[in-house]
Symmetry: C2
Subunit: 396 residues, 2 copies
Amino acid sequence: MSANRPIDITSRCVSTKARAGVLRTSHGDVTTPTFMPVGTQGTVKSLTPCDLREIGAGIVLGNTYHLYLRPGISTVGRFGGLHGFMAWDGPILTDSGGYQVFSLAALRRIGEEGVSFCSHVDGSEHFLTPELAVDYQERLGSDIAMVLDVCHPHDLGLAGTREAMERTHRWAERCLNSHRRQEQLLFAIVQGGTSVELRLESARFLTSLPFPGYAIGGLSVGEPKATTWAVLERTIDELPADRPRYFMGVGAPDDIVRSVAMGVDMFDSVLPTRVARHGAVFTPTGRVNLRNSIYRESDESLDATCDCYTCHTFPVAYLHHLFKCEELLAYRLATLHNLRFMVSHMHNIRQAIVEGRFAEFKEKFLSTYKPSDEQVRLEQKRKWFDAAGGRKAGVG
Amino acid sequence: MSANRPIDITSRCVSTKARAGVLRTSHGDVTTPTFMPVGTQGTVKSLTPCDLREIGAGIVLGNTYHLYLRPGISTVGRFGGLHGFMAWDGPILTDSGGYQVFSLAALRRIGEEGVSFCSHVDGSEHFLTPELAVDYQERLGSDIAMVLDVCHPHDLGLAGTREAMERTHRWAERCLNSHRRQEQLLFAIVQGGTSVELRLESARFLTSLPFPGYAIGGLSVGEPKATTWAVLERTIDELPADRPRYFMGVGAPDDIVRSVAMGVDMFDSVLPTRVARHGAVFTPTGRVNLRNSIYRESDESLDATCDCYTCHTFPVAYLHHLFKCEELLAYRLATLHNLRFMVSHMHNIRQAIVEGRFAEFKEKFLSTYKPSDEQVRLEQKRKWFDAAGGRKAGVG
């Protein structure tokens, strides 16, 4: 297998497009489909690398934007990159910083050369280009790097979306041309908003370039769910079967099952870790909130089917108590559980594919798992996006 | 050894009053001198019972006041007590709630029967008596319980201090009379403020009663250090040699060495865990703050002599980064280190006693360890006490 084809597809579902495989990286193999916990600032919030190993995490994600601002790329570089700095010797994927620049930073000005922005930490001015995004990720030493893309709200309009997409394509080429580290995989990002036509155009353009993997960006960012699935399915079909496909920013257990059925191999999202810190934990029947007073005296374990430390050690009443008292341990125990849930979930999905019963698995899971109400979800996402300044993002 | 004499003194220093021993409890033996990490609300902040085991913690402290308010004594009782609730199977000492009632709660009214107060959480009204304090601790199932005492500022004046002390004595008798659980040790608390005369009177009165152990309370609460040591030494000399002696609320590594030299066996304090959450960590040469910019690029470990997970896993620059970003992991890694430092410190003290070289150990430690500036310390303690309403505490 060449570096340009880092994935071995070992099993395929006969009735859906689901596939199981092994992704090869410089820091080890990752079985797919896989979910990547997000370690924004060089730490998966509240957990040690040791905790991550224990729950079976295969690959973690680091945010270039955050690490660039704090502690700075050269500081991380002094420690041989992110692996040495955060003491994690497994695979790491870094994003390009684009999404954060477009959603967190202030005073963005986007031109052909790159994007200028002000730090959300101290207001200082910065300039990011495709070449710098690659350079930073090479110095962070991640196993998989992402191209710098133009991110925008889903309702930008067709002309604006096309303009952003075409710039994303030119930036992807510049990233590819400046990329030097052979042991690092550089993935392209398909854009095109909610237009199937643009998505197909983007996929065709990017797959004409020698990228070892492809991500779908700018989808599941607040548009109706039906649109998400329609666009995803058509886009995935346009991607080469022998390259990994990564659906960015998706982490709801039910969304993952649906996406896998369309042929997605990789996922990342802050969802499992962020909601954990608010007391929301995943169970086979859906999300429940540990702050709910029904748990005040419960001597049951959070999830009887789960083998994580939290579930096999503490009664739910104790977890409820920790959240009511806002104890630091609450955040860690809930995070441990949610990530172990995700690892087990991906394992179950994979086993079902390998054993030729993924279609039944999918049907059963989706009929048992109660999704968070879509309206609530969309509203939350929009609020967050608005608060983060995402609405202000445009193409200049 | 009877339940009334739970400690075996196995070694004595020939040139100081330091002693090493083994304290027997229902949940196992504890080597002394020992330091007890504080788990206020049923958790040593940010750590699991598993972490506590790994760093070698021997016995932890729980706060009856906090547990009574949240989740409530009967809820904890449903899980077989605090051991089952927090999943810690080692020894536990609970305080009586007195100190928190006098320092945290609002609208205290103290009478002969007990003390009424309003919860610092929701303002609800409560009434605590010596009998209730014992009952609560019996239901929490701690291995060592404390009598309810009257706590007051160190500068209350002689008449007020005497009045508080005499009530503490009557309450101690009531606690002893209402105590039922034979496997639980009930310790008395010597009071008497900064008056050596009152302290001796208190020690004599309480040691005339059949308590299995004695604590020194209301000392090291803001009075000058010279006074602390003078009062401590005279008080300890008045306590029986065959019972454990517990100096409440003391946790500075240098204060512990001085106290051990006077014959103290047990300590507790939030100091190591509280300062850790502010980035202050113990080293053999004194406390340093990880937020200091001198650590921004440091590739050294926090303490080369320490064997804790934090020290043998991460460069100091990473810890500095976590504190600057206020990452949850920062609090845990610093807490792990400080508590491991305390466990090792107590081990080193004990070994020095056992091997007949404690006097040299003491001299060497105190000449190497730079104490936090006393003025800063007193001011911080006074500010905290004032903020907590401690000044308002009086005897009514």
